[in-house]
């Protein structure tokens, strides 16, 4: 795992859902930070994309592993 990557483990979260953890991490972040989100909630891809567009941040990667969905986000704006 790369140094400086913050893991946000939201596996199992359905309500209020993974955006809770992402928003909490965003509050304490700085430009250049990289988040790696782990989730099982199917809606997470669309929601993080909408979040990134709204906040001006960047989705670096979005993939489905057998046990989880992994999304990497770069913080460009704070």
């Amino acid at each position: 795992m790369d140094a400086g990557v913050k893991i946000i483990d939201s596996r199992g979260a359905a309500c209020p859902g993974p955006i809770t953890d992402l928003a909490r991490a965003y509050r304490n972040s700085k430009v250049g930070d990289i988040f790696e989100m782990w989730a099982t909630d199917k809606g997470v891809k669309a929601d993080t994309q909408a979040w990134a567009t709204k906040t001006g941040n960047e989705i670096l990667e979005s993939r489905e592993d057998p046990d989880k969905i992994v999304i990497r986000i770069k913080i460009n704006k704070r």
Binding site: G12, P16, A50, W51, K54, T55
Partner: protein
């Protein structure tokens, strides 16, 4: 006899205490307050002016044999199995369960303290709910900004419940709600629709992508939000509040002007010093594993209910189910919490629904009905029995017939 020490006499702490065999265990609850509150009723105090008594002494809610001590715990040393009270009293234990709920933190957002002191809110206390009611009932028109100021909050549906009940109240007072309120010939004689008593806007702001965070339930409630003229500002995570200019600014860079602010403060974990301090996260919530509520590294320490970091909603029902699991574990049986949530959701005008899901099944798009509203209202009466354990058979049946797998088959497939 092994000593079980429970910090907090809320839903989680009481249900755990009342399910332990006091012939086998020496059970003590320590709470800083001697009263237990039925928090869901804060909504009806704040938006309907209810004067119902919603507290009872904790000492009267424990089964015979369970000890209750009024004291505030300030420090817990998990390595030495000791908890420290306010007057340097030391509590030793064989097992500890921390069930301290959340504490409101209006000072963590610039400008929020002043709003919190002046207007109250509908999440923190009876006093704050009464304060908010005095503003709601005297509201003369303008924009009401209502929402949560941080993504972590108790009872996710309660935020939108507040907006729904507020809308019902304003129309009941003869006000119009929303910018494009239709005044058609059919409702010209209805003061609630013509808005003869003033015009209002309700703007519901939320850090989530939509009115209700979980998408399947949003599909159910969003049409109601629109129909009632409630405006939604999604992805609005409160950064600062400018009381002078009556504006709320979001982390995402937007601003919202208000005449009446209804802002639920961020909630944090307990103000207790832990040894080791690594058991708390940056918001002081206590880390625990999601199936057994054990604090990592300790077989004798649990965190249950709102105070823990489980990836589930902070609700009374989850606190209840987590407490049941921990009581079995302490008594040497195997048990696992599956993340089940079951949050009642009042959609106003006499209807309600439930937000149901677990770790493996998404939220059910469960439609509101009058029967579910009746169930939510009945809960206020049987609540005290659920704390004592006497309502367990009803609950078991209810949970059996409403598993998210079953309900999703019925409701998610009809779309």
């Amino acid at each position: 006899m092994k000593k079980v020490l429970i910090i907090g006499g809320g839903g989680g702490g009481l249900i755990l205490a009342n399910h332990l065999d006091t012939n086998e265990f020496d059970v003590t609850i320590v709470d800083k307050s001697d009263l237990h509150f039925y928090q869901p009723w804060f909504l009806y105090i704040a938006f309907k002016g209810s004067q119902r008594k919603i507290s009872r002494p904790i000492g009267e809610l424990v089964r015979p044999g369970v000890n209750f001590v009024k004291d505030e715990i300030t420090e817990i040393n998990l390595d030495e199995r000791k908890a420290y009270g306010s007057r340097k009293v030391v509590y030793n234990y064989d097992y500890i369960a921390i069930a301290t709920g959340t504490s409101p933190d209006p000072d963590s957002i610039p400008g929020l303290r002043q709003i919190y002191d002046e207007y109250g809110d509908y999440h923190s206390s009876v006093y704050n709910s009464q304060k908010l009611w005095s503003h709601v009932k005297n509201f003369k028109g303008g924009t009401i900004a209502i929402g949560q100021s941080s993504p972590t909050c108790k009872c996710p549906p309660s935020l939108l419940e507040g907006a729904f009940l507020l809308e019902e109240r304003l129309r009941g007072m003869g006000m119009s709600v929303g910018t494009s309120d239709p005044v058609s010939p059919s409702n010209v004689n209805d003061p609630a629709k013509t808005g003869t008593k003033g015009k209002s806007r309700i703007v519901f702001f939320t850090p989530f992508p939509r009115a209700y965070s979980a998408e399947p339930m949003n599909r159910v409630v969003e049409p109601m939000v629109k129909e009632r003229g409630i405006e939604v500002m999604p992805f609005f995570d409160v950064d600062t509040i400018d009381g002078q200019n009556k504006t709320i600014n979001s982390l995402e860079g937007e601003s919202l002007k208000y005449d009446l602010p209804i802002i639920v403060p961020p909630c944090k974990g307990p103000k207790i010093k832990f040894i080791p301090e690594t058991v708390q996260d940056e918001d002081r919530f206590i880390k625990a594993d999601k199936n057994h509520m054990k604090i990592p590294g300790y077989d004798d320490a649990f965190a249950i209910g709102d105070c823990n970091t489980l990836p589930t909603s902070k609700t009374g029902v989850t606190a209840h189910l987590e407490a049941m699991t921990v009581s079995e574990l302490i008594q040497g049986k195997y048990s696992e919490f599956n993340g089940r949530i079951n949050c009642p959701f009042d959609t106003a005008y006499g209807k309600a629904t439930f937000v149901i899901a677990d770790y493996n099944n998404p939220v059910v798009p469960y439609p509101p009905t009058a029967t579910k509203h009746f169930m939510k209202m009945s809960m206020a009466r049987i609540y005290w029995m659920t704390l004592m354990g006497t309502a367990d058979p009803i609950f078991e049946q209810f949970f059996k017939f409403t598993t998210p797998e079953k309900l999703n088959k019925k409701y998610a497939s009809v779309e």
